[in-house]
Point group: C2
Chain length 360, copies 2
């Protein structure tokens, strides 16, 4: 079904309102999810809405959180999300970082007691709008085995860096630190295809290309895949995200991170509160005049875009470019939703007495 962004937005807001979110939070949370669907990252948009509702039913998401700064210096802070939606906690924290950057050049916020925050790019781009460089990371439910391990100890722990350009759209580097995101496995499962080697291992840590291996105790592999191809680097990056997001803030880390799915209980012996994020903003003009930076970043982009390619039919893709193309297209042409998601959303609609979704 093809749905207009505006009707999907109203629908999503209504669901958040129905579970008790304030109007401000419902609008913001819907904006984060819509941005993901617009940008073509279907796995992180409204497809997750029913999952958030199930966590709310289990009292693992607080619809009326008292999000607050619990510790700070002029340029650093720890924020407690009060078990709120990460979709509203992370923008709060990013606003804190931006305000500190306005005053002192940079701002850095580690967040505890939060939940899934949607796409990292949303938060990092908040800084870009202010001519700042944005940083956004989060830890996540353990699905990834460190190099040599047979255990799932880390999430797909994404890191995002976003930079304002001039003539060109912002450069948005946004990546899971695993070899492949879980969403890519799900696509292979639906299509009945094998996945490339180096994405996953089976429950004994053995070689597999079966996309169902995660359901039988297997694990995702860190970016790099195996030791020879640099999986220790993917592990190190994922560890960095985990430490900045959770060891620094007082959230759960490693295997203690609560699962995103409501049917799995959180570990009985938490080492912190909820999941953790790390957000940052640095003023470009803290380093050089904004127009100078932007014109050099434009030059950087142009040089890479026009690079000679191995296959003449392909171009070098500037990080963030495909997402912006999707956003431009879907804003006009509508957001395609697969049947399973439409069904899922309309069950929510009936339950909460919200108008069901209608196609374009």
């Amino acid at each position: 079904m093809l749905v207009s962004p505006s009707s999907l937005r109203v629908f999503t807001e209504n669901i958040f309102l129905a579970i008790g979110c304030s109007s401000e939070h419902a609008t913001l949370a819907a904006d984060v999810l819509l941005r993901s669907d617009l940008r073509g990252i279907d796995s992180h948009g409204v497809a997750r809405l029913s999952g958030y509702v199930r966590l709310w039913e289990k009292n693992r998401i607080n619809a009326k959180p008292n999000i607050r700064i619990v510790h700070e210096t002029p340029t650093t802070a720890t924020v407690d999300g009060d078990a709120g939606l990460g979709l509203v906690v992370a923008p709060f924290a990013m606003q804190v970082a931006i305000k500190k950057a306005e005053l002192y050049g940079s701002g850095w916020v580690s967040v505890r007691n939060s939940n899934h925050f949607g796409i990292a790019g949303y938060h990092a781009l908040m800084a870009v709008e202010k001519d700042m460089i944005g940083f956004a990371m989060t830890n996540a439910s353990p699905l990834v085995a460190p190099t040599f391990s047979s255990e799932r100890l880390l999430g797909t722990n994404p890191m995002c860096y976003a930079f304002p350009a001039g003539q060109y759209p912002p450069v948005v580097v946004d990546l899971a630190t695993s070899a492949a995101a879980n969403g890519k496995l799900e696509i292979a499962q639906r299509l009945g295809k094998q996945v490339p080697e180096g994405w996953i291992q089976d429950k004994n840590g053995g070689y597999t290309t079966d996309p169902h291996a995660l359901k039988t105790g297997g694990a995702l592999l860190p970016l790099g895949g195996d030791r020879d191809h640099g999986s220790h680097k993917g592990f190190g990056l994922s560890a960095t995200v985990d430490i900045l997001s959770a060891v620094l803030s007082g959230a759960n880390y490693g295997p203690w991170v609560p699962p995103f799915v409501a049917f799995l209980d959180p570990p009985a012996n938490p080492v912190g509160q909820g999941i953790g994020h790390f957000l940052g903003a640095m003023r470009v003009d803290g380093f050089r005049p904004v127009d100078e930076f932007k014109s050099h970043l434009d030059n950087w982009i142009e040089r890479f875009k026009t690079s000679a390619t191995v296959d003449v039919s392909k171009k070098v893709i500037i990080p963030g470019e495909p997402e912006l193309e999707a956003e431009t297209h879907r804003a006009t042409h509508g957001i395609p939703l697969v049947d399973a998601v439409v069904t899922d959303l309309n069950i929510l609609a009936e339950r909460f007495g919200v108008d069901t979704l209608k196609g374009e």
Copy 2:
């Protein structure tokens, strides 16, 4: 030859003094190189000394730089390295970052007009000694092709994150954003071995496992290797390092970064000055009390170290652990130097009238 750290240190200092470095700079530069040799990163230690001298001969390294802050806010700064050794420019910049962090919680310095800075870990660990989290990145001579490109547009652009622990040594995540470092290719060349697929491509961007492919127009590949295995992520990380280090500071970026070797001239149309670094420090107690952070990081380390492994003879390696083991061992037992390096150093010794190296 096995050389004592103290005699290798004196030797290295003497060479830096001989090319005109101040006594303070010679001591510091030697300390950075020795630390690399002690930590087992032989490619970045005294093996590079003659390379620095050749760049000095070509007036591309200034032995008496006036390193200075050219732009700043309370927590950000741009440093001009005046074409000095990166070995002294980067520690200067890190001291600036640390001082800002002491006053305001965090400090961030982008550096232009510098040269090769040795191991990133040295600089990041300066922050760890102050109970801060250290960040160190640098761009480098172009050897890496972005995903889909047949051109070398990026360096191996390392990123390093270092965290202070309690009972355990610091966690030091220090990685080239390419699939493999150039030093690993050199080892394969010496041994006459093929390298794993996904490390390099030939001059047309085609498949190769020939470690000599770089000499005939080939390129290193970004971490991930190919698109299916996430090379766009390695490219994105490398781009991040390049932008933070050079587009932000006014250094050269991408294919304009000057080569580290003296026999290749820098590009005729520079877009900035020298190479760029990015250094940062954040006070741990800007987020939570230091003892709390350290005890949780110890818990993190312990959980990962004792993880079940695929092969019972292997353990999960905590980032930074192997380097510290090497440092402890070599501090006592001496630093092994291969014959080619000893010969190279003793040619320098004779030329500058410095005592030649003697084994233990």
